[in-house]
């Protein structure tokens, strides 16, 4: 058993090395965000310095990044509040239907997930201009709800499939109508799934960039657009934008901690990226 222990150690160290290299960009950005610009641009890179959180304060408070955080939060939360309920209803129906109809719909939804978003961004922009909805929350929210539907439906359907049909039938015999079967019988069983789906949808809306770039403006700009546009107006630009980037990432780290056991399921249905 001795040699295998050595192999295990070597393997472990190799994987640790991979992880460290993989995380370097994040660690580096974090260090830049707590360094004075003088220290940030030294060659070779400085590893010992006096940390400061003044740039975090500056970018979120003085540069008013909190505004974009509010925009992002309003848009992402509204998206989830519309997308998950209607998607869950559709998912329930698709999990209970017999025959080829539901198969066709499910396949159609999968096809919609393939749409290049740029092709949708063009008509969204033209229509939003026509309806004077550029730089308003509703346009952005509806766009995100729509692209979220295929994921929400597939994901929730997978949870409803785990609810035995006998449960429905028993409820029907007890005199429940279809809505009651859905709302009072099936939905409580899939409640954990509902949370998981909501969190994934929240992440998807929070990370979205292309539609936000095209549809939002000064009043509704989300965090990804704000940081992508944030230019080098002043000397502290690097430290400030690193501080903003780290701040944007924090909720995502929390999200990952909350969902670690469910990541594979979410990913299989195409969460995170459209």
């Amino acid at each position: 058993m001795r040699p295998s222990r050595t192999t295990q150690m070597v393997l472990f160290l190799a994987l640790c090395a991979f992880t460290v290299v993989n995380l370097t960009p994040i660690i580096w950005a974090f260090m830049t965000s707590i360094k004075q610009p003088v220290d940030a641009f030294s060659v070779p890179p400085k590893l010992i310095f006096t940390p400061t959180f003044e740039f975090h304060y500056q970018v979120w408070v003085e540069k008013e990044f909190w505004r974009f955080l509010i925009n992002s939060a309003v848009i992402a939360i509204s998206t989830v509040c519309i997308s998950v309920p209607i998607g869950t209803m559709a998912a329930f129906a698709l999990s209970r239907m017999r025959g080829g109809g539901s198969r066709g719909i499910l396949f159609g939804l999968l096809a919609m997930r393939m749409f290049p978003h740029i092709l949708l961004a063009i008509p969204f922009f033209v229509l939003a201009q026509w309806l004077s909805l550029i730089d308003t929350y509703p346009m952005m929210i509806m766009a995100l709800v729509a692209i979220n539907q295929p994921f929400t439906i597939w994901m929730m359907r997978s949870f409803f499939m785990d609810v035995p049909l006998e449960l429905d039938e028993a409820a029907r015999i007890d005199g429940c109508n279809l809505w009651q079967v859905f709302y009072q019988v099936a939905l409580p069983v899939v409640r954990p799934g509902l949370w998981i789906t909501s969190l994934f949808s929240l992440l998807l809306a929070y990370n979205e960039f292309l539609f936000a770039l095209v549809l939002t403006g000064p009043n509704t700009k989300t965090l990804p657009v704000a940081i992508a546009e944030y230019g080098a107006e002043d000397l502290n630009y690097w430290s400030l934008s690193a501080a903003a980037a780290i701040g944007i990432m924090l909720p995502i780290v929390l999200f990952m901690m909350a969902l670690q056991r469910h990541l594979v399921r979410g990913l299989a249905f195409g969460a995170v990226k459209g």
């Binding site: 393997l11 994987l15 070779p44 698709l94 096809a111 029907r172 859905f182 992440l203 940081i227 992508a228």
Partner: protein, 289 residues
């Protein structure tokens, strides 16, 4: 029978949203692709397939297809090979797998725009971490984002940074589903790790591999956020993929008609690619979906 009829009602809200916000705009984009339409200019004029004909004669269009194929193929194969190697490593490891897996996964769910910025701060000339390290060995580094070849390389690395963790997680989950008795009997016969991986484990998870490749190809096709932040398609048009070119046409040159036509062609091309992958998938294993 009555159950079935009532169920359709549950599809109505979602169906309405999808029809109004997804299918109608899609139809409208296809409609616009037949018009000569400059935003803010004269009213659109119908030109039939004029935009498509113009695109087929456009070198920039063919160039962007080439770059898309190069970047998609480069990124997806890099992610697959690296992802499989790490997933197999994790599979063999007997301790510490969970925290490692979680830490490795982080880059995948970072906001793509933020991920691109993280990488820009690594690759930027002179001040980036990579250049700082290389220069401290007194070697003069290449201009990662400023020369066409290296810019394409950097864009591929950026895609790989965000999506290798996805490959690792899914392939690792897949490897764990392989029947242990088969592996043990192969070990009895004296088969090495490589043989076990390629002869037993990979064939066993083939449907999953094809599925994951299909998803990655599909998403890599519309890869936008990171290129936009890292190179904006440049230098020149060195990293201008189909999506980037469509964006430039629509939102920089305001040629809405031509951009729509390009978007429709992108949709057809990605559908064709996915169609091929799914055809293979279904031929090999009917139960993949």
């Amino acid at each position: 029978m009555q159950t079935q009829r009532g169920l359709w009602l549950f599809l109505v809200p979602s169906g309405l949203v999808i029809s109004l916000v997804l299918l109608y705009p899609l139809g409208y984009a296809i409609y616009l692709s037949f018009f000569n339409y400059y935003l803010g200019g004269q009213p659109p004029t119908f030109i039939g397939f004029g935009n498509y004909v113009a695109l087929f004669g456009d070198e920039r269009f063919w160039g962007s297809i080439g770059k898309t194929v190069l970047i998609v193929a480069g990124a997806v194969s890099l992610e697959f090979v690296l992802g499989l190697a790490v997933a197999f490593g994790l599979y063999k490891l007997t301790f510490g797998v969970k925290p490692l897996n979680l830490l490795m996964f982080l880059p995948h769910i970072v906001t793509p725009v933020v991920a691109a910025l993280f990488l820009r701060w690594i690759f930027t000339g002179r001040w980036g971490l990579l250049d700082a390290i290389i220069m401290s060995f007194n070697i003069f580094p290449p201009d990662w984002l400023g020369t066409p070849g290296w810019a394409r390389f950097t864009v591929i690395v950026a895609d790989a940074w965000q999506f290798t963790p996805f490959m690792i997680l899914v392939l690792y989950a897949g490897l764990n589903t392989v029947d242990n008795s088969q592996i043990e009997s192969a070990q009895m016969d004296g088969a090495g790790n490589w043989t076990i991986l390629t002869r037993i484990m990979l064939p066993a998870i083939k449907p999953l591999i094809l599925f994951v490749l299909a998803i990655r190809i599909m998403d890599a096709f519309r890869f936008f956020d990171q290129i936009y932040v890292l190179t904006a398609g440049g230098p020149g048009t060195a990293t201008e993929t189909l999506t980037m070119y469509t964006y430039a046409l629509a939102f920089r040159l305001l040629e809405i008609g031509k951009a729509s036509a390009l978007g429709v062609l992108t949709l057809l091309l990605s559908a064709l690619t996915i169609g091929l992958v799914i055809a293979v998938l279904y031929r090999r294993d009917k139960g993949a979906f």
